[in-house]
Every structure is written in structure tokens, then in C-alpha cells.
Symmetry: C2
Subunit: 171 residues, 2 copies
């Protein structure tokens, strides 16, 4: 499967993975949220090759997650800053960090702590239901096809056509 094919999938997860689902994009975005804005600063703090960094920044700009803002003429230089679309990735970043805190921390404890300016306490992110405010668990959620669904498969209809038999009604 090509990256481009992922964008076309009738699945919001696949489409988002097309944007952030590679080794580096999420790390680049973490740096963005830590106020890194310039090419060499990304490069130095991530250790990413310059080639790939250029490529990833271009991709994130193309998807409207980052914007290039000129900060000097002659020679023209840009800073990469998060758009609103990019800022909206914050829950993804935070939930990833939180999972790592809980399940991947070593004996020394968490690498970082987060303080909520509103209440001035150290906190963890919690995912709740927009309607009733209760914390969400996988088992309490029921999935329905929406208007953008594809009849047969949520992901890879071509693969299901090819799969002999097709096991209808599996979900």
C-alpha cells in the first residue's frame, strides 16, 4: 500500500495515519509543541537526517498541519509553526505521551511532567465522552457506519474483493 492510498481510505484513522503515521512525523510534532520552529533546531534535537526532515516538514505543510512563516528576507528564512489543524493534534500527542508514561517508563520514572495552568496541578490527560462526560473505555463504545462509510469494508475493499470467500458479516 502506498502512502497516497491511505489518504483515500474511508477511515479516519487511516487518513490520519497518512499524515502522522511514520517514525518521524510525531517526533517532529512533539518538537513543535515544545516551541521548536527552525530547521536546524529540529535537526539538532531529533537527530533526524536533514533529508528526511526537509521531507517531513514539506509533508506536514502540505497537509496544513504546519505553516511556513518568513522571519527574515535575504536570504529568505522560514519558521515552521503549528496551524489550528496542527494544534488540534494535541490530544493525540498527549494520549501517546500518557501511554508511554504508564507503560514504557523505566525505573527512574517519567521523563516529563505536565502542569495544567488553569488549576496549577500536575495532571494526566483523561478521555471522556463529549455527551455525558464519563471516561471512555473501548468496551463501552459501539461503532456504526457513518455517511462516509464504504459498503463492504471500512478499509481495504480491494483486498476483500480479492479474498476468496469474503466471509460476509464478520463484523
Amino acid at each position: 500500500m502506498k502512502w497516497d492510498a491511505l489518504e483515500e481510505e474511508p477511515c479516519s484513522l487511516a487518513r490520519t495515519v497518512a499524515v502522522i503515521g511514520d517514525r518521524w512525523s510525531l517526533l517532529v510534532l512533539r518538537e513543535c509543541f515544545l516551541r521548536t520552529r527552525r530547521f536546524d533546531d529540529f535537526q539538532a534535537s531529533l537527530g533526524i537526517t536533514r533529508h528526511l526532515l526537509a521531507d517531513r516538514l514539506k509533508k506536514l505543510v502540505r497537509f496544513g498541519v504546519l505553516r511556513k512563516i518568513p522571519y527574515q528576507e535575504a536570504p529568505k528564512r522560514y519558521e515552521y509553526i503549528l496551524t489550528q489543524k496542527g494544534l488540534d493534534l494535541y490530544p493525540i500527542i498527549m494520549s501517546i505521551v500518557h501511554w508511554g508514561n504508564v507503560h514504557m517508563a523505566d525505573s527512574r520514572g517519567r521523563p516529563m511532567l505536565h502542569e495544567h495552568k488553569n488549576c496549577q496541578k500536575l495532571f494526566d490527560p483523561v478521555m471522556v465522552c463529549s455527551e455525558c462526560g464519563e471516561p471512555l473505555a473501548a468496551k463501552a463504545v459501539h461503532v456504526h457506519p457513518g455517511p462516509g462509510a464504504r459498503p463492504s469494508s471500512p478499509v481495504h475493499a480491494k483486498a476483500q474483493e480479492q479474498a476468496k470467500g469474503g466471509r460476509a458479516g464478520r463484523r
Copy 2:
């Protein structure tokens, strides 16, 4: 940077990316949350090559996100099911799906809708502060080094050593 190096980083995001930060792992996990459990079912619904699927499942088992449960002897066959560690990835999955719903949906609308069994309403996931319950925004969060932090760099100390100058106090 090798995948193994990512696991060792003093950063919860990098460590989590070592587990789920590739093209396929998140899609495999989506299938897990949609109750897919068997090799050929993953293969058919994702269109992933069998080679890579075997590799990704092995990796997810190694990290304790999935468990192999035998469902028949002779020939020995296993189902892949989520462990608690795997179930805890749900907020990540949901926040990714939600971002895709908001920012990557085409004109036809969302591919999927989510119903909360507790309140029986269609909902969106919202990330809130564990302490005060308010929705979280990037700008309202302050980051502190935690006990597991590395003095100089949160990510790639080697890269910063190499970066002549080192730009102390950048964050």
C-alpha cells in the same frame, strides 16, 4: 536512528512511537479494537502483506500489547487479543480517529460514528485534565522535567553533543 534506539529515549512519546509509530501497527490495532483476531482476517481487511503482518504481530506481542491465545490444537492456531496494555491504547486510537473526522473527512462525511453505551448518544472524545476536568489545550499546559529526564536533551543527546555550540537553555 534505529527503532531500538527509539525505545531507549528518555521520552514517553518516542518510546510509544517505537511501539505504534509505523504505517501498519496502528491499522492492525484498529482491527483489534474492531474485534479482528486472526491472521487471515487481519490480512484480508488490511491488505497488508503477510510478511509484514507476521512481523507487526510479533512486535506487538513482544511489547505486550497483544497476546497469543491458542484456540485450537493440531494444527496449533492462535488468536491475537489485546492485553490491558493494548486496551489502554484506546484513547490514542480514538483521538486519532477524531482528528481524522474533523480534519480529513471528505464531502460525504464521517466514515464511522461512535455511540457511548452508557449514555446512548453519538459522541466525540474529549481530552480533559485529570485534576480539574477542564478540556485541555496545548497553550494551557506547562512542561517540567520529571525524574526520568536526561539532563541535556529530552530526545537525542548524541545529536546535541554533535551539534557544535549546543544552544543551552533553548527550552
